[in-house]
Symmetry: C2
Subunit: 423 residues, 2 copies
């Protein structure tokens, strides 16, 4: 079998016509398939069924705190203990807040804007320029938080071991660079595990900004798909040992452990940071939903039981990831028109189409009823300079739908590549 | 019986000595009694027991939306319907968000600071001065939100019919006056029902600021203590009819209907406002906790059932309010040293001690183990110019404890008054 670049124009035309036939057949079916977002599938949601009945109204007092009433802004002590165990931090470094780590991240940035962080000379809204480092491809919602506050987004290339640290170390010499977005384990979308060296270099950064915020989104900290749990080092300890105790804010949530949007989110940070943030948070909230915290503590219990639950999630996710990877191996690999990741965990397959074809491929997908994350979304300002990266989210659709969606996706990627090569 | 001002010095000294004896006896008991916050009592919390078991994992899809998964930023349609019915607004004017209306208010002010509101010429953080009207006595947490963002707090006197509207109408001529805090029904702490005329004048305000924000905290909209539900007019309609459709943001929550801090909060505002706010909210959140929304919809059902539930709350609250009022009638009224409200709903009795004695009275209370909301808290910057207003929150303690706490409170108020009159 020839690769696409080896085809003559006539062969490409023939190939295109055949693909177009298959494409039109699919289009006629009027399908509605969605691989846009990292939404758990229905089978995963059912794993947390017992949590919906786990509380009784007369059994909601723990450590002398009534989870049914106002109070305990930083969260139930038992919930802090659980997340401290999962993240390897101390309970006093944990804030258990709300349902979404995204909101905790946004709120931290909002407070940086209006009030400044612990060591800010002034609120960021009073700074002429605020820049933020965005390892890319990355998580679009991270970048959009910074963008929405008018920050300047600085692209940092992602490598196989995490952000390009030479570029990061250079960039943080600029005192207007106020922070960096990171997903250290199973990065979104590449599924990369930051290497030990990368993490050490990050912890040892010497940013010019005294209030540099390392936004450490450990969204997939226990989210293995293949194999056993891979331990990670506590970034708070590493930063503390490197003389940067207040630089890091770590985030996690149970959105992909229990119920998305109805889970529990946490922020881990130094005790001094927690104190400072709580001093601002006290104007925003009396307390977060402690009943939901208690539900989670009773259901998730401890790290061991969480990891066992995550293996059940993995069992459900594996056939979906395999369906994606099998389709790509079969339909795309021989043509040498794209590369992609084979993640061991997380929620995505990161696909790099032939340069200049991602937008076109996704437009074709959309026309045939397959919705994907928009091309470019994984880059600052939604602009992929190579128009190549596509994030595939296989978790939501049932396997049969997914196979169909991937068949259409592969057709579209091939058509776009042939168009680019010339017909 | 003589009033305190009729007593001779010798009589005052005798009275003081007798009170001091009772005070010391109480102090020796080492009590810990709390009337500081409007926290529902345990019996109230138990009314919502069925809600903790009301969801089944396979019965969480409503209107085609899976409440277990991400999505629907503005809330479940069925939840919007419920709150629209309660508030008398249209469902499309409702945002169902999070657990706490306080957080919704804070977030709106935060967004005003960082991005501006719908008709803001610029973000408020870029304004040299932002002033906010604070009808006082009022809710300390409202005032502290404004204060935390560096706004200048303008005291507006409260009257028996609501804020002094002459003062308000004059104040809003200043374009730096960007909004006003209101609790229109059973105001915190006075329990005042804003009169029809006051509400009409508020809806018809002509503020110089194009982005004036009427922060309409309808916290006690269905919270009668004595008597049947008292209907209220829809402030959104009134503002719309007065040509101010985008001036008002109405807030409510189920914190004092179901579980405090684990309830559901709403913001009602014009469709244009909702659209604008959602365009900013999309960076902050994927969706709020829809499982908790669904729990509430299934449990609360509709306005009729909510009002029936509120009558159950009232049955529990009435003996507590009576204990407070009875103590004051018996121990304080004959002495003519204070005035207080007899609220028909809400969560507070607003007590005005002899001028210049509130702080001293509460310091005495604290020493004897009775914790109250700090004196001055009901005024901007925590400073009551008359050092008189004290907010009594009778809901949390069991009736027997409350009687004891009120006995101590009355002793302290009397001692402080005698000290002021001179011994």
């Amino acid at each position: 079998m020839k690769t696409y670049s080896q085809l003559t124009v006539a062969e490409r035309q023939e190939e295109y016509a055949s693909l177009q036939q298959r494409y039109n057949d699919y289009k006629a079916l009027g399908l509605k398939l969605n691989m846009a977002r990292g939404k758990p599938g229905v089978d995963q949601l059912r794993l947390s069924a017992p949590m919906l009945h786990i509380l009784d109204v007369d059994d909601c007092i723990v450590d002398g705190i009534d989870a049914r009433n106002y109070g305990e802004l930083a969260g139930l002590p038992c919930a802090k203990n659980l997340f401290a165990e999962l993240l390897g931090t101390k309970p006093e470094e944990i804030l258990v807040g709300g349902n979404a780590s995204l909101t905790l991240m946004y709120d931290l940035m909002a407070k940086a804007m209006t009030h400044g962080l612990l060591h800010s000379p002034r609120p960021w809204s009073q700074e002429p320029v605020v820049k933020f480092l965005c390892p890319s491809p990355g998580y679009d919602r991270h970048f959009k938080i910074s963008e929405s506050f008018g920050m300047e987004l600085i692209t940092i290339p992602m490598t196989a071991t995490g952000p390009d640290m030479d570029a990061v170390e250079e960039a943080v010499k600029d005192p207007t660079v106020k922070g960096m977005w990171c997903v250290p384990k199973y990065s979104n979308p590449d599924g990369i595990l930051y290497s030990e060296e990368t993490i050490d270099r990050i912890a040892n950064l010497k940013p010019a900004a005294p209030d540099f915020a390392l936004m450490w989104d450990n969204a997939y900290c226990v989210h293995e798909i293949y194999g056993e749990f891979r331990p990670f080092r506590d970034i708070l300890t590493l930063c503390r040992e490197a003389g940067n105790p207040h630089m890091v804010y770590e985030f996690a949530s149970t959105s992909k452990i229990t119920f998305p949007g109805a889970g529990v989110a946490v922020m881990a940070a130094s005790v001094e940071n927690q104190k400072y943030i709580e001093s601002l948070l006290t104007y925003q909230s009396i307390s977060y939903d402690k009943l939901n915290q208690l539900r989670h503590v009773r259901f998730l219990k401890n790290k061991e039981t969480v990891l066992a639950l995550m293996q059940e999630h993995a069992k459900i996710l594996r056939p979906r990831f395999s369906a994606v990877l099998d389709a790509l191996d079969k339909e795309i690999a021989p043509l040498e028109i794209a590369q992609w990741t084979k993640p061991m965990g997380g929620y995505f397959v990161s696909f790099n189409a032939m340069e200049g074809t991602a937008k076109r491929a996704l437009a074709l997908c959309k026309e045939a009823g397959v919705v994907m994350t928009g091309a470019g979304a994984t880059f600052p300002y939604g602009k992929d300079p190579k128009d190549s990266n596509i994030r595939i989210a296989p978790s939501l659709p049932p396997v049969e739908e997914l196979k169909q969606a991937m068949d259409i996706f592969c057709i579209c990627v091939r058509m776009a590549a042939l168009e680019k090569l010339g017909l």
